[in-house]
Symmetry: C2
């Protein structure tokens, strides 16, 4: 396929742009920085959305919808927030043929407008906790854009919750980080490191930001979801107050958390290879494709009929597709579905029919090794079992890759070497200025301070000061 | 409840605004003309979305996502289209702190940007039909807004398809009108009249527009979904061309069709009464609510435990809620859930437990008549069966209402009288000017020319000319 797709080693970035378009996940649009999510990519997003949404509802959240437009004055109510987002805003100045009295911002995130509504809805401790999520589009004017990873408009969910106490809000922040971790690991097969963001990298307006960080196949980091403890910052800016059980007026404690269409990019760059996409079965729009094979034209009808029967048997258990396109050879179809990352390919011809079997090829194991002959009898169980096996295998492969590309470093030299190829893990006692200097020198940043810590203390590799925490460093998308 | 909710007869419009807010379906936002869809209203929308989406997929459509922003020049490529939408546009003039070279329009509908992409994707007859739907927000700068019915921003789905022939595109247009009719009748329990729009009322840029028209409880019409045959208008404006089987370059034939959050308003105004919402069981976020009853505090634990058991038994079969809130009397809860339109209320106290029964009250039949005692045994079947009965009953009630508020009219006087209270049905042979004059005189418009026609001909009630079609007239939202 080398004439068809740039190899990852040759130019990972080029590989990514090519495969996203060739596999028809997304396309460039005529609007600067905005992408079109094509049906195959959108179906992947629908799977991500449904699995996240199920988890949100299981943890007591409900969905709602807030306006796309936010009055400019709202953003200015939280000082850090407006400072962080001002350079990225798209502004509506005209509506219905007239200039607006106050310009409207196209939401870059919705803390402010939701904060305004929460102030109206929350009166008493009985109204708390308020646990709302929104699925929406947001706009951030980005200078350098990449399909799915950084686009001017993107789709996401943003959870916004309000609580009576500091501790409850902190708990919620970490609960949702947990939900994200669970989703990434068990659905997207992406091993992620849940951790805290450094002050330099936290959300504009948050007290503490948490993240799940993933490693892509080029060793770079991708922030794949964030959960923010907002303290009383937004409650104070928007007067979200309630009467507590003692009839005392208190400010609420709020959180926000989000995962976006960037997750599609994470899936592509965590599992893909030089043949194209490798999709985790749990999220794959098509889990198994049947490619019917015939040599002679008189075999055609018999094979197609048997293939249709096979397809019907698996429907409802597996997201199955029968590729009955005319005018394409089986070999061409193999390559096509391989490129599109379909986890299992069922090759089905006259000999298979005669022997009551089917040849199954795993996308994640190339060549002969990935091929198995399965009896037709019991396929309703063996195919789902094999899909579960593939899901586990690609998770393990990604985890092995990350572990073999993560180095414990003690010196600046080791650090430099590590972040060329992957993550550096090191004791850290620097401040924001140290981090900024480190970034200038190495292009690497603190990806997170993992929740899981070794304990004890050690020497900060950069400042030499005593450190009580280990951080993960890398170059990031 | 009269002190609580304005009655429909007193002021229907006020009743509507009050119930939408009191039932927490939606709230006003600080942004002019934009609403907040609250969790209860959004869950109703999710049910609408899921049921429509299922039907779209069953008819071969896939979802995708196109940019929110459209270059102003795109709208100008189709003359009628830009003329129709220009007065309603919201315009982004600044992005990332700079003035844009070309202003971007916030999409009022997406024919133009999708047309541009289709031109890129469609090369050959093999690429057709292209059957794509999008779930999205759109913005139309409205002067007078009403929650759900007419808001500056609203949520909808917009289907956009391209076909090789005129006939296929016409078929698709009518197929989707059929899907909408099926949804309205069988899910929303709204009897709708599928028909053609008059030239004066058709979509800007369409050859023919079709609609499903519903009658609200005040006798006014609500356009509840539209399907447009666009001919080659957009294909020519955006160069959507393909090589046909004879290798000749042809323009494609396109359609578009949409249903919006307005459908929530249709549900409210078709079924609601002076006690509040009446939700069709198929769409109701909560289908049955259990209200536990105890007189003495020592009964509380026993009743709650039995109620929880009952709730668990029905879970998965019915969208059930146990109202175990403290500090509210059963009577207060009855009124509360009645107002929120929950189809069935299960009243459950010590005597019911002893008798292994439950008192079930139907929301759609007020007072004693709507109450039945059901044995606990078999409730997993009897409750779903009763819900189906309620669904059928409220459909029939709405249909009866429409039929008793529709009059065949032969004179201007009869027409005037009819459109005060409901629909007028009449032979029509007028043109757009006649229709405009009629609207000035009576505030009524042609809601549709029903697909189902009596045949033959008659005298147009307005022009006296011979007419071959009957039209439905009404005052509209």
């Amino acid at each position: 396929m080398s004439d068809f797709l740039t190899s990852q080693n040759e130019d990972f970035s080029k590989w990514y742009n090519e495969i996203v378009q060739k596999a028809e996940l997304a396309d460039y649009s005529p609007v600067r920085g905005c992408m079109v999510i094509r049906p195959y990519g959108y179906t992947l997003w629908e799977r991500i959305r449904d699995e996240l949404d199920r988890r949100f509802k299981e943890t007591g959240h409900v969905n709602a919808y807030f306006p796309l437009f936010i009055p400019m004055s709202f953003l200015q109510k939280e000082a850090e927030h407006v400072e962080g987002f001002a350079p990225e805003l798209a502004v509506v100045t005209h509506g219905g043929g007239k200039e607006l009295e106050e310009p409207l911002v196209v939401r870059p995130t919705s803390e402010t407008i939701i904060g305004h509504m929460y102030a109206k809805w929350i009166q008493s401790y009985r109204d708390l906790p308020l646990l709302i999520n929104q699925w929406a589009n947001v706009v951030r004017w980005e200078m350098r854009t990449r399909l799915f990873l950084r686009t001017t408009e993107f789709l996401w969910q943003e959870g916004h919750t309000a609580h009576a106490t500091h501790d409850e809000a902190r708990e919620e922040t970490l609960r949702m980080l947990d939900v994200y971790t669970d989703f990434a690991v068990n659905e997207a097969a992406i091993p992620v490191i849940p951790g805290r963001k450094s002050d330099a990298e936290k959300f504009a307006g948050a007290v503490t930001s948490y993240t799940i960080e993933a490693m892509m196949r080029d060793g770079k980091a991708l922030q794949s979801g964030t959960s923010h403890f907002l303290g009383q910052n937004f409650a104070k800016a928007f007067d979200i107050q309630f009467l507590d059980e003692n009839n005392t007026l208190q400010h609420a404690w709020t959180t926000s958390w989000g995962v976006s269409t960037r997750m599609v990019g994470a899936v592509v760059m965590t599992h893909g290879d030089d043949q194209g996409l490798v999709l985790p079965p749990r999220l794959a729009p098509i889990q198994a494709v049947i490619v019917p094979i015939w040599r002679k034209n008189r075999q055609r009808a018999e094979v197609l009929e048997a293939a249709e029967k096979l397809s019907r048997r698996l429907q409802g258990r597996v997201r199955i597709k029968l590729d009955d396109r005319e005018g394409f050879s089986p070999g061409w179809k193999y390559n096509d579905w391989e490129m599109r990352g379909v986890p299992l390919r069922l090759e089905f011809g006259p000999r298979d029919i005669a022997n009551e079997q089917v040849m199954v090829a795993r996308r994640d194991v190339p060549g002969r090794e990935g091929k198995t002959i399965l009896p037709l009898a019991g396929l309703e169980e063996t195919i789902p079992a094999l899909l579960a096996e593939v899901q586990a295998a690609i998770y393990q492969k990604a985890l092995d890759f990350r572990e073999s590309h993560t180095w414990d470093v003690k010196t600046a030299g080791e650090f430099q070497e590590a972040v060329q190829h992957g993550f550096a893990r090191a004791w850290w006692a620097g401040d924001s200025e140290d981090e900024a200097r480190l970034k200038d020198e190495t292009k690497a940043t603190i990806r997170c301070i993992p929740l899981e810590q070794p304990g004890g203390s050690g020497d900060c590799f950069y400042t030499g000061r005593e450190a009580t925490e280990v951080a993960i460093f890398g170059r990031a998308y």
